[in-house]
Amino acid sequence: MPKTLFEKIWNDHLIAELDDGACLLHVDRVFLHERTGGIALSSMEAEQRQVRNPGHVFCTMDHIIDTFPGRGDATMAPGGRQFITSARQATRRAGITLFDVNDPRQGISHVISAELGVTLPGLTVVCPDSHTCTLGALGALAWGIGSSECEHALTTETLRLVKPKQMAVRLQGGLAAGVTAKDVILHLTGKYSASGGSGCAIEFCGEGTRRLPVEARMTLCNMAVEFSAFTGIIAPDDETLKYISGRPYAPEGGEWDKAVEYWRRLHTDAGAKYDKELHLDLAEIEPTVTWGTSPQHAIGISGMIPDPDKESNKGTRQAMQRAMDYMGLTAGTAINTIPIDAAFIGSCTNSRLSDLRDAARILKGNKITRRIKAICVPGSSRIKREAEQEGIDRIFTEAGFEWRESGCSMCFYAGGEGFAERERIISSTNRNFEGRQGQGARSHLASPATVAASALTGFITDARNMAIQQ
């Protein structure tokens, strides 16, 4: 029987089908961070349960730590220090590898899990964080879980699951110049709604997917959860192998060859069936920005804020109206005329080297509008170093951006550093929920290029209109 990529990985991890209908699935890697890792580990201690295989568990500091230069354990997040120290102590007691605050390998969990080769094609990877789906870009089955399931995975190296439905999102054609994977995923949620992929394991496939560089694939899979998917996944190919080869936790020598042989099987067979299929023609997509408080409130950069009165579904209409009030916008306003107060480049969606390069190309030799607060937070300490070697940090700082240490930073607001009430941010992150980046703060999601261009002009701007200096 022809099988999908998802089914192949699922079947190879299936330990048993239990009486109650649950599938007991083997979990190959658990990644933790200081926000939820400490709680899971200390609650296990209270129950006198042990981490079954600490060698397959990793932890980073990303959510709560500050990103100011010279940072330590002190953080602006209320109670933050306790999260940091408890994660540090609990991982030490359990024998788990920790990428601590000043470790050169530190970074946002989903960024470094790929960067260090902790995640490999064909592995099952979980983390108590919804954006774990990012790692599906490498051909791993990776998904976010809560604390209870995390304790389950740590204690048993398994999870009990109901097999999710499968969806294919086929990307056809190629992207127009200046359009990125971020625009694709925003376009997808805009077109099919934030619940369009509800509960599905989504395989991004088609020639349009193949043509995306690995880092762009991560951006695409990152926001599968904003499409309400169980996860996103992309079949590994030569680009994937090139990306993984030589990473610290990747196999070497004979083991590498054996792994490659296995990975070559990881693709959907001709004739395999999905429960649902969607097609997107990439050529139709323009730079895309959100205007509201749900990722489905996404429109092309040449578009206008839609009119709720034209929406037939009552729930959707009310949500649009609420979003418009919260965002301080009116229907019919052209999105590319909206002035912004701040620009943020960072997060597990768009903080990798290729993202920073994209933004730097636009910023080079230019200055941001003076009244704007602009911040760049590389996704990992390694990306930060690599960017500095290329001089990207200077391009950012000379343009007027702050250049930070790596972490989640102002992707979300934990009560510490955040954007102010009514402050309008153009942001390369993944969530535009009410209060996500600060109490009452207004987030517009966009690609790093759009963020950079908007920072220069002071309003939401199509980067393709900017003269780029070579």
Binding site: L24, T36, G38, G146, A259, R431, Q439
Partner: protein, 208 residues
């Protein structure tokens, strides 16, 4: 875990779509490394009035602050409830506040899994049925209770409406008996070990 068999209580309608876990409990309300003390922060962004970042007090317009909904234990919500962040705090906060069940057309999948592991019943009903329940509850919140039987997988009103809902057998069992998933899985340790012994040969590269 507290088992869920039947429950009858005040149902508060919060019929917004895409209520995300950041809205259920904002990150700034998660100040301690603990599963407790979170109910204060439940729906904080909507439940309180603010000046800049400072809480001024309860927002009288928010449904849970209305006296007739005091003691609500069932939440009626819009589509895609609990989407967004994986934070189990959203479930802990709802449960600690006193909610035993949330009824919505669909749930974020991580939220759903978190709920069934904490004795909070997620019930999927059509938007139409939820609207009917909301109208019924709104007529006299304190007395027009909504009744849920997990055994029969039904939601009913005292006015005679009855709606059936679907739930996976494994989730139903866990909730009915208040089972701990880890204890259940630990009974299969032999199978796990057998699997790993085989797997260590076939996928040796996957083992560090």
């Amino acid at each position: 875990m507290k088992p869920f068999t039947t429950h009858s209580g005040i149902a508060a309608p919060l019929l917004r779509i895409n209520i995300d876990t950041d809205a259920i409990i904002p990150s700034r309300e998660m100040r301690r490394v603990s599963k407790r003390g979170l109910s204060e922060g439940l729906f904080a962004g909507w439940r309180y009035l603010y000046e800049d970042d400072k809480k001024l007090g309860a927002n009288p317009d928010f449904i849970l602050n209305k006296p007739e909904y005091a003691g609500a234990s069932i939440l009626l919500a819009g589509d895609n409830f609990g989407c967004g962040s994986s934070r189990e705090h959203a479930v802990w906060a709802l449960a600690e506040y006193g909610f035993r069940a949330v009824i919505a057309p669909a749930f974020g999948s991580i939220f759903y899994n978190n709920a069934v592991r904490n004795g909070l019943l997620p019930v999927e009903l059509s938007e139409q049925s939820i609207t009917a329940l909301a109208e019924y509850s709104t007529r006299a919140p304190a007395t027009n209770h909504v009744n849920i039987s997990l055994e029969n997988t039904t939601v009913s009103s005292n006015a005679g409406d009855e709606f059936h809902f679907d739930i996976e057998p494994l989730h139903k069992e866990m909730l009915l008996q208040g089972l701990d998933a880890i204890d259940m899985t630990l009974k299969h340790l032999d199978e796990i070990e057998e699997f790993q012994n085989r797997d260590k040969t076939s996928r040796s590269w996957a083992y560090l």
